[in-house]
């Protein structure tokens, strides 16, 4: 039987976050992979820390709130992302950047506080985040002139990311594992608040 630490799939999660953390910065335009618009959409999400960090944070929150909440977010987030992305592509008015940072900070704060939210609340937060970040994604897609396939690619990555993270967190049973998730939440909240400062910084 494996030791408890190794039975828990932290290794993969830490490796992913480590590699993704060092990924190059996000661009306002679509990442070109050369593999077509579907993969461009996937690449854009994976190379945009402000997007995958928010998706990851929401998945952590959903996992902490239980398996049912995780299952709800698994479908609500990609769908609302698609809707928001379509609206963003059609309207393409850039909202203030600080809003995304505030969303990240609040989500991290909820994780750190270990609030066990009821399913409709988690679903509503997921829908709001999906609509907002999808909208930003849609605005970024305007220069590319195509939204459907890139947004579908992004939604697929979101589905997989939420499924993995929320399932891992929903399965935690040991106290220290839940504490580790709360610590991660405090780091997310701190990062979000610093980002608000970056956005408000003059010069």
């Amino acid at each position: 039987m494996k030791p408890r630490l190794l039975r828990f799939p932290w290794t993969g999660l830490v490796l992913f976050l480590g590699v993704a953390g060092f990924a190059s910065h996000a661009e306002a335009h679509l990442v070109t992979t050369g593999l077509g618009p579907l993969y461009d959409g996937m690449g854009h999400l994976l190379l945009s820390p402000e997007e995958w960090a928010t998706v990851g944070a929401l998945a952590l929150l959903a996992g902490l709130s239980g398996a049912a909440a995780g299952r709800l977010v698994l479908f609500v987030l990609p769908l609302s992302w698609l809707v928001g992305g379509t609206i963003g592509f059609l309207i393409h008015a850039q909202p203030p950047v600080a809003i995304a940072a505030i969303v990240l900070m609040l989500t991290g704060g909820l994780i750190a506080a270990d609030f066990r939210l009821i399913r409709p609340v988690v679903g509503s937060i997921g829908a709001a985040i999906g609509l907002f970040h999808g909208y930003l994604n849609g605005v970024a897609l305007v220069p590319a002139g195509e939204a459907a396939l890139p947004l579908l690619g992004a939604a697929l990555v979101i589905f997989v990311l939420v499924a993995l993270v929320a399932a891992v967190v929903a399965s935690v049973k040991l106290t220290w594992q839940r504490i580790a998730v709360r610590v991660a939440g405090s780091w997310i909240a701190a990062t979000g608040l610093l980002l608000v400062g970056w956005a408000m910084r003059k010069g």
């Binding site: 290794t11 953390g21 910065h25 996000a26 780091w187 701190a190 990062t191 608040l193 400062g197 970056w198």
Partner: protein, 203 residues
């Protein structure tokens, strides 16, 4: 049949590839000006000054000495309040006596460990929080202007958490009789360092 856990070649290869990828610089068509270009720059920032390092390790040492729940509550409190300080520094809101506060943080936290003080949890959290505010403000004003605040902030916050982790790991020696003395001695060394930085701030 139970088998001891062994690192599989696939996992070793994945970890190696991940580390190599993580260390690789992002491809740029131009030279990046300013250090705020990514996770690595943010991650290295908190390690750049001994005054910060000593205080953050002291937080971990004290948490380990106090035991549960302080062992995780103090390292959660510090980055969250630190980010408030960082936010104030980023937007240019002044905080008087920052250098003195940083020097005093290492001095007082070192003394707490050296004398094995066990105040009520809220007082310990308040003390750590106040010092976190000073450290965050100093970092916030030092953060170089850059276009990738997200990965920089992530690296910065995670590095702070790692420093607390180092302190907690070192602090675990208090479980052994000889370790109790070693831990108190390390607290005294930190207090001496803090005294030096306080004296420098006052000079």
């Amino acid at each position: 049949m139970n088998r001891p856990y062994r690192l599989s070649p696939t996992l070793v290869l994945s970890l190696t590839a991940g580390l190599l990828l993580a260390g690789a610089p992002s491809v740029e068509a131009h030279i990046e000006n300013g250090a705020a270009s990514g996770f690595a720059a943010g991650f290295s920032h908190p390690w750049s000054g001994w005054d910060h390092i000593l205080a953050m390790i002291a937080v971990g040492l004290w948490g380990a000495q106090l035991g549960n729940p302080a062992v995780w509550l103090l390292p959660v409190t510090f980055p969250m309040v630190m980010s408030i300080g960082g936010f104030l520094g980023l937007i240019g809101c002044p905080l008087p006596g920052v250098e003195l506060g940083i020097g005093l943080s290492a001095l007082l936290l070192g003394l707490m460990v050296a004398t094995e003080r066990r105040p009520p949890l809220w007082i310990a959290a308040l003390l750590v929080g106040i010092f976190g505010l000073y450290h965050g403000h100093a970092h916030g004003t030092e953060l170089p202007p850059g276009r990738d605040g997200m990965t920089y902030s992530m690296g910065f916050v995670i590095a702070t958490g790692c420093l607390h982790g180092v302190g907690i790991a070192l602090g675990l020696v208090h479980r052994w009789p000889g370790g109790v003395i070693a831990l108190r001695a390390s607290g005294a060394v930190i207090a001496l360092g803090g005294g030096f930085f306080t004296w420098q701030a006052l000079a």
